[in-house]
Assembly symmetry: C2
Homo-oligomer: 225 residues x 2
């Protein structure tokens, strides 16, 4: 009669995880700051156990790191690691583009197109929205490649870089031809060779890296808004 409850009963640890992650995204926890299990637990009035679980998970995902017995801190990411993250994105997203340009399913292409169109319908300047939409375009492409493992990697990569991507977006004062870029990418997916599609994606990501490093350098000595 009624479907049986789809399990997934609420897990306190999951809440903590979300809260912490979004705190990192919003910059409420700047890098270097110490995260103490007891204090976090006290702040949200729960025990240390679920807090600990969330912290460990974030550590394993590369967002936090543990420094001896001084607690967890946000990993401050070196330039080398930034490059590595972008490189990994090239691998994952480039391959996804390759696969899509090989299969060419109508449904898949339509779904991607929709994500791309959303970007063009955004006129106001809202950094966070831009970020979300951009991320969604890339994620949709990976998703539509039909490989769930790849999608998991994508999510892992992006959550690992949360503080980074947003930072980059924030600083990127003018994004002139961005919609065009994604349209071009879509075009390659639709009618280019798989190799072309992959290359287009890789180049696009590499541009992002350049812009990222550029912004970082510019604002390096002027970290406040």
């Amino acid at each position: 009669m009624f479907k049986k409850a789809p399990q997934a009963r609420p897990r306190l640890a999951a809440d903590v995880y979300d809260q912490l992650l979004s705190a990192v995204v919003n910059g409420q926890i700047k890098p270097g700051e110490r995260l103490i299990q007891e204090k976090i637990a006290a702040q949200i009035n729960i025990s240390r156990t679920p807090v600990r679980e969330a912290l460990l998970r974030l550590e394993q995902e590369g967002v936090l790191e543990q420094t001896g017995r001084r607690g967890f801190t946000i990993r401050d990411i070196t330039d080398q690691e930034i490059r590595a993250l972008y490189g990994a994105r090239e691998a994952v997203e480039g391959y996804a583009a390759y696969v899509i340009a090989t299969d060419r399913g109508d449904q898949q292409l339509a779904t991607i197109e929709q994500a791309v169109l959303a970007e063009q319908q955004l006129f106001e300047r809202d950094v966070e929205k831009e970020f979300t939409i951009n991320r969604n375009i890339h994620r949709t492409i990976v998703e539509q490649s039909g490989n769930s493992v790849l999608l998991g990697m994508f999510d892992s990569l992006w959550s690992r870089g949360v503080s980074l991507w947003l930072f980059s977006a924030t600083r990127n004062d003018q994004t002139p031809s961005k919609p065009d870029v994604h349209s071009k990418l879509l075009q390659k997916l639709k009618s280019g060779t798989p190799e072309e599609a992959q290359k287009e994606m890789i180049d696009h990501i590499r541009d992002g890296l350049d812009m990222h490093l550029e912004n970082k350098k510019t604002h390096a000595s002027n970290p406040d808004s």
Copy 2:
């Protein structure tokens, strides 16, 4: 005078993690079997806490899954997921090949060559050794691409498939031209275009998938040794 202790004080949870993982690899825990925190804890005479930590980590890595309140079990992997895993390998390792064939550092190529040579010096038939050597060849290639994030993904993928790869190797009664295959791959890394190197890697992995599925089908109704 004395070197300072390299921190990393022993973590009980890490032990449990290793034990469980290798138990999966050795097939001591076949898929479907239930893993109960209390029982495991009792068996190695520790409390549930570190056991739980290890289990959660293995779950996040995709080795285990949680089924309601009936404990953890080894994920039985569907054919679709096998394909997804191999696809992800194509993305990661193919990209690594591309990068290496672009940079062409002497040191890197030499390191890879060494790994390949190790395979040709193995004459006896030792399934586990073959597996280790093969894995090492692929891992070295990713490692030498110089991208630590990519390497992390590689490790994650392979540990996720541990039970699979070994299964496949076990069943693969004759591996005739395998050394040749890797030599050819090395050749492309040394002197092919990046695209060629990538393609060679992808084809190689795809062959592995075909073989895997073939073996699986053959032995499907005869699961015991």
